[in-house]
């Protein structure tokens, strides 16, 4: 072999490289880039994390602001709402209505205050001065037509009266402690999003995925509710050696990505309630409908011959195979709207996906609930 033949032989062979991409090398490169460009905007993972932290900050700020603003005037305020009456005005109005049987004027705060001032009884005036939110039960006499303006068309509840020695008013008004169920609503619908960590090995935690949750809730009791809905999740996870034993040779690791429709059935218990906020715990079971699974199987680098290959699957279904656990906090933003944060954990009771992996997920749902 002369010089030219040798050079050509080497060149020809060198021009046909058989080099597989090794994800570990990109991780090393990524680390170098992080050091070199620390101020550079990050990739999607970092954007998700920062978006999540931003939303969390906004949510916390909002909750604190509402809590602080409501703290001062919540206790002894007369609410400017036609559906809420002071006790004496309700007596007066109802008495007039019952005796004269004519339509009553719509009561507003402007009307209410002079009426209070004209109250003849000093004791009653004092009582009214510390009246809390008063909610009125429907008139007992069902033969009378409903009050068009004073009595609203939603379930009306009891009232709080600070003058404890006074007996509860009669004439059809029941004064009880408030029902803790949020505003007496029976249904809610909620939309929330979550950054989600998924893993098959706790030591292999990596980048977060995400979940979008549309939730329906039905109250079966003031403290208990049934929940279902639809959750679309993107889960990303890695695993080391020990999986995919059916493959020969067995890969030394894998990177998994899957897109899942999750149908949960949960029961929720509202453990701590007050007028504006609630704490709850929730548990139930989920069915997973795997829309797509992608697995990049990695093989041990051997010289220059490290390599990986992609496996894709669709259509795997797992009925009632995942246990849901969560707890959460809700803060009412109005009569119908609440903001909610709900950390959750999902653990399968059977293998998930094409490779029957123990795919566990955890995250925190942040979103809004609408009650009616």
């Amino acid at each position: 072999m002369n010089d030219r033949e040798l050079d050509m032989f080497v060149k020809t062979l060198a021009d046909k490289p058989n080099i597989a991409y090794d994800p570990k090398d990109w991780k090393a490169m990524n680390g170098l880039l992080d050091k070199q460009f620390p101020q550079q905007p990050g990739g999607w993972n970092q954007k998700i994390i920062w978006t999540f932290l931003g939303l969390l900050g906004v949510a916390v700020g909002l909750i604190v602001a509402i809590w602080v603003s409501s703290k001062g005037n919540d206790q002894y305020a007369i609410i400017p709402d036609t559906r809420i009456l002071t006790t004496s005005l309700a007596f007066e109005g109802l008495t007039n209505y019952e005796t004269q049987n004519h339509e009553m004027p719509k009561l507003t705060q402007d009307h209410a205050l002079p009426a209070l001032a004209n109250t003849s009884s000093i004791q009653e005036y004092k009582a009214l001065a510390i009246v809390k939110k008063v909610e009125v039960y429907p008139i007992a006499n069902q033969n009378k037509p409903a009050l068009p303006t004073l009595l609203p068309d939603f379930p009306i509840h009891g009232a709080i009266h600070e003058s404890q020695n006074e007996p509860p008013p009669s004439n059809g008004l029941n004064v009880n402690t408030p029902i803790k169920n949020p505003m007496g609503r029976r249904f809610s619908v909620g939309l929330s999003v979550a950054p989600e960590m998924s893993t098959v090995q706790l030591s292999q935690l990596q980048n977060p995925g995400r979940s979008i949750n549309l939730n329906f809730e039905y109250f079966i009791h003031e403290k208990w509710s049934l929940n279902t809905g639809i959750i679309h999740s993107y889960k990303t996870y890695t695993g080391g050696a020990g999986y995919y034993q059916d493959y020969q040779p067995a890969p030394t690791g894998f990177q998994g990505d899957c897109w899942v429709i999750d149908i949960p059935f949960n029961i929720r218990y509202y453990a701590f309630n007050n007028n504006n906020s609630k704490w709850f715990i929730s548990s139930g079971i989920s069915s997973y409908f795997m829309m797509r699974e992608e697995y990049e199987l990695q093989y041990e680098p051997y010289g220059v011959n490290s390599y990986s290959r992609i496996e894709e699957y669709t259509g795997n279904r797992h009925y009632f195979n995942v246990v849901n656990l969560s707890m959460g906090y809700q803060r009412m933003l109005g009569r119908h709207l609440a903001i909610q944060a709900e950390p959750y954990f999902k653990v399968p009771v059977a293998g998930i996906g094409a490779e029957k992996l123990s795919l566990r997920s955890a995250g925190i749902f942040l979103g809004l609930n609408y009650y009616w």
């Binding site: 032989f9 060198a14 490169m29 010289g303």
Partner: protein
């Protein structure tokens, strides 16, 4: 090249996803160059990453009207030559433990020689021989250019090339395989 354009633009803006795409796209090509200049895979990855770092840092200087591959190759080779100059200081410290294992050519006939075997043979050449052989036989540089690039004389360049070929022939011939270590 049209598909590469948005990746290059994104990488130039520092978007990590585009940088990753570019890295994946040119990983095998870059490694094929680096492996020939390096003594082992770890060194090759080091050279490759230095090259990609230069690419990501100076991508705004790249002329989009020209093909990317030659520009990338030039950067990688320059990185390899810098590595060569740094390694010269330590070349006398190379011990037997750092000499890569040669392929068993009794099993693998010359006609069936695989790419990885060839790389191992090239990597087993001494640093100076390997670098000159790469530049002359595979990159197409002349001895005058090589002498300038490596700060050596033309005569040294020719001598190194001669010795590199001699060792390669020995290693590519099974009966002379063991002599290649000497």
């Amino acid at each position: 090249m049209e598909d590469l354009q948005p990746i290059l633009e994104g990488a130039s803006r520092g978007e990590r996803k585009c940088q990753e795409s570019l890295y994946k796209e040119f990983y095998a090509y870059g490694m094929s160059v680096c492996l020939r200049y390096a003594a082992n895979r770890e060194e090759a990855v080091e050279i490759l990453h230095d090259g990609f770092m230069k690419v990501f840092t100076h991508l705004d200087q790249f002329d989009n009207n020209r093909p990317f591959t030659p520009w990338f190759r030039k950067i990688i080779i320059n990185g390899a030559l810098n590595h060569y100059k740094q390694s010269l200081k330590h070349s006398c410290e190379v011990g037997l433990e750092n000499i890569p294992e040669l392929p068993d050519l009794k099993i693998s006939a010359l006609t069936q020689l695989e790419y990885r075997d060839l790389i191992k043979i090239i990597q087993s050449l001494p640093l100076a021989y390997r670098t000159v052989f790469n530049l002359y036989a595979l990159e197409g540089y002349g001895h005058a250019e090589i002498a300038e690039l490596l700060n050596i004389s033309v005569g040294t360049s020719k001598s190194n090339l001669f010795r590199a070929r001699e060792k390669l022939r020995m290693m590519l011939t099974p009966e002379n395989h063991e002599k290649a270590y000497l």
